[in-house]
């Protein structure tokens, strides 16, 4: 769940340096690169990518430790927790053996992570199904929803941010600021509830839940996706819009823009070729952060709309105390989030070679 002042999030996430770097030098001032320089940049980028990748693997290792620790060691006896107070000693012992709880924790961790690496994510205790295929299927459902929302909020957010930035302190700017402040203050499930009331209850245009029939054609199921997508979009739109706005304002105040204006370049040219290129850079990191919002958001939204995604699987795993499933969902979510951040770093480096990764 991320919110207005996510502008802050951006800076601490990437470590304040990055957001500031982007804006002061005009891109065309970078001298044309010789072959040697190109080679140097390619190498630098490769090294950067490699270092980030190794770092990500390290992070994922620790993440898996956290998931394992939280799910199996903290509660004391997982078997007791699963079976409840009424369990007989015999069933408890049986479940302990099945979960491997009679073995030391380090051995269990090594087995679990070894299985995960080989693609064997264990077996769900309740459904008696292997976890991996189940995760993949639900991940597909959630990904459709999240990707749709991500793309729409990125495009809409950047557009609104540009409009607001170009009309500083005039009514379009004020309107956009007010509306985005509103939506960023609503938890996703509250937005969902209001959307259902408007579009399903009053207007009767769209269905209030997403019981998707597997055989339904694409356009029929698209109708079910509109409200969940809109919910997530409205929630994550604001950060993008506000960040683009403030970064555009910062760029418009800079010297090279004044130079461009005083050279007599047409306003449109200055904005399109000079201002936007730099102003949009910070948006890349907020788009990666949005992935985090979307993943938290989908848990809530999937519950409101009864949408069969990863979030519902997570809630199900929690309520049924299905440990292997819980570990799987948690690990997968964290892995996706980490990957999104890696992708953002790489893209950022790629579009902005001035960053020196230290």
């Amino acid at each position: 769940m991320i919110h207005p002042v996510t502008l802050n999030l951006v800076s601490f996430w990437r470590g304040a340096k990055v957001t500031r770097l982007a804006t002061h030098i005009h891109p065309t001032f970078i001298p044309r690169l010789s072959n040697d320089h190109l080679l140097y940049y390619t190498q630098a980028m490769f090294q950067f990518f490699l270092r980030r990748l190794l770092f990500m693997l390290l992070i994922l290792f620790f993440v898996s430790l956290v998931v394992f620790t939280v799910t199996t060691i903290l509660p004391g006896d997982a078997a007791q927790m699963i079976l409840g107070q009424k369990a007989t000693p015999a069933t408890l012992a049986a479940l302990r053996t099945r979960l491997g709880l009679d073995q030391p924790a380090t051995l269990r961790y090594v087995r679990w992570i070894g299985g995960v690496l080989r693609g064997d994510w264990g077996e769900s205790l309740i459904m008696n199904l292997p976890v991996a295929p189940l995760l993949l299927q639900r991940l597909g459902n959630s990904a459709v929803l999240a990707l749709l929302a991500w793309v729409v909020s990125a495009l809409l957010g950047i557009g609104l941010g540009i409009i607001a930035g170009l009309n500083r302190n005039r009514w379009p700017d004020r309107l956009i600021t007010i509306v985005t402040t509103f939506f960023v203050s609503f938890p996703p499930f509250v937005i969902a509830v209001f959307l259902i009331i408007v579009f399903s209850l009053w207007l009767r245009w769209l269905p209030a839940s997403s019981m998707i029939d597997a055989n339904a054609n694409f356009f029929a199921s698209l109708r079910f996706l509109i409200l969940p997508t809109l919910t997530l979009t409205l929630g994550s739109l604001a950060e993008v819009a506000r960040l683009v706005r403030s970064s555009l304002l910062e760029v418009l105040d800079s010297d090279y823009i004044r130079t461009a204006h005083s050279k007599g370049l047409p306003n449109r040219w200055v904005i399109l070729r000079h201002a936007l290129r730099n102003a949009l850079l910070p948006a890349i990191s907020v788009l990666a952060l949005n992935v985090g919002y979307l993943m938290s958001g989908t848990v809530l939204v999937e519950r409101v709309f009864a949408y069969p995604g990863l979030g519902r699987l997570l809630l199900q795993a929690i309520s049924q105390r299905d440990l292997p499933l819980l570990q799987g969902v948690a690990l997968l979510s964290a892995a996706i989030y980490t990957l999104a951040n890696l992708a953002a770093d790489v893209v950022y480096f790629w579009v902005n070679p001035r960053i020196r990764y230290s």
């Binding site: 207005p4 992070i59 203050s185 499930f189 509830v193 948690a330 964290a334 980490t338």
Partner: protein, 303 residues
């Protein structure tokens, strides 16, 4: 040796600065408040937050009915003069439940923000001040915690601990602390290179004294803004957890849970859902307006 000889001239300026700074920083905080009161949107935010604070403190006496009293004959009544905001499926007065529900929400948000701030400020301050391997370890730890989407980490912790109020507070604090630590660290990294810190070190102040008396006062405006921001966050996450049934346990009123329970009647009795949802939204809007006001006044945009 040459260094220690050349430094005293700098030191003279540094010493005067050192004694000035705590005073100027409190003055800055005061004028920050007065300036904020002149900003109409921030003032609106402050008023909203104060109203909810009053409701949280005195809700039980303000509410027209006891929040858990069931009027089964009047189940799912629309808003009327007897039940201003209608009743839920058990005939409980929604206005009363919204009013009384503010207490657990405010309590949760206040406690978790305070704890997160304590943890985050301490970690960030220590990491940035000492640098080196301490910084490295602490920042890698925050990296790991930040690799989880906030709500997922909270759910993961709560799913094993169970949802008591203290666990909720702990869990939200753990989720927020790394983010706060990052912000504090970036500010301290800049502060510790200032002359007044050198000056304090020259007159023999200990590390803990420098951190408490020299750096911390200068962090206050940052921390104030962070408090407002994370208070809003805490309400979002807390109500989300409540909505997922991991928050305050029934029959005590909880806004998130009220929305969740009312979903089944959404198409027939929308008021069950609308009012607690509006309560969450208006409180967060209030907090965010306040946070924006504080942030723009302190000139601390982080951008």
């Amino acid at each position: 040796m040459t260094q220690s000889i050349s430094l005293p001239t700098q030191n003279m300026a540094g010493v005067t600065q050192q004694f000035d700074l705590p005073k100027t920083s409190t003055r800055a905080t005061q004028s920050q408040w007065t300036r904020m009161l002149r900003n109409p949107t921030a003032l609106l935010g402050l008023v909203i937050v104060l109203i909810y604070l009053v409701l949280a403190l005195f809700g039980e006496w303000i509410a027209p009915y006891p929040s858990t009293e069931q009027h089964l004959n009047d189940a799912l009544q629309p808003p009327s003069s007897t039940y201003w905001l209608g009743t839920d499926q058990f005939g409980r007065d929604i206005l009363s439940r919204v009013i009384v529900g503010s207490r657990s929400m405010i309590l949760l948000a206040t406690a978790s923000t305070a704890l997160a701030l304590l943890l985050g400020a301490f970690t960030g301050l220590v990491a940035a001040y000492f640098g080196g391997w301490i910084d490295e370890i602490m920042m890698r730890a925050t990296d790991v915690l930040l690799s989880f989407p906030a709500l997922l980490l909270a759910l993961l912790i709560l799913s094993t601990l169970g949802s008591a109020m203290s666990y909720l507070v702990l869990c939200i604090a753990v989720v927020f602390a790394p983010a706060i630590a990052r912000v504090v660290r970036s500010v301290v990294l800049e502060l510790k290179t200032r002359e007044f810190v050198d000056a304090a070190r020259m007159i023999g102040a200990s590390h803990s004294r420098i951190m408490r008396r020299e750096i911390l006062p200068n962090l206050m405006s940052t921390l104030l803004v962070e408090t407002a921001i994370y208070f809003g966050y805490a309400i979002l996450v807390g109500s989300g957890l409540g909505f997922l049934g991991m928050g305050v346990q029934p029959p005590s009123p909880d806004w998130g849970l009220q929305v969740s329970d009312g979903r089944n009647f959404l198409l027939t009795a929308a008021w069950v859902v609308i009012f607690p949802a509006l309560a969450i939204a208006s409180l967060v809007i209030g907090v965010n307006l306040l946070a924006d006001g504080l942030a723009s006044n302190s000139g601390n945009h982080h951008l």
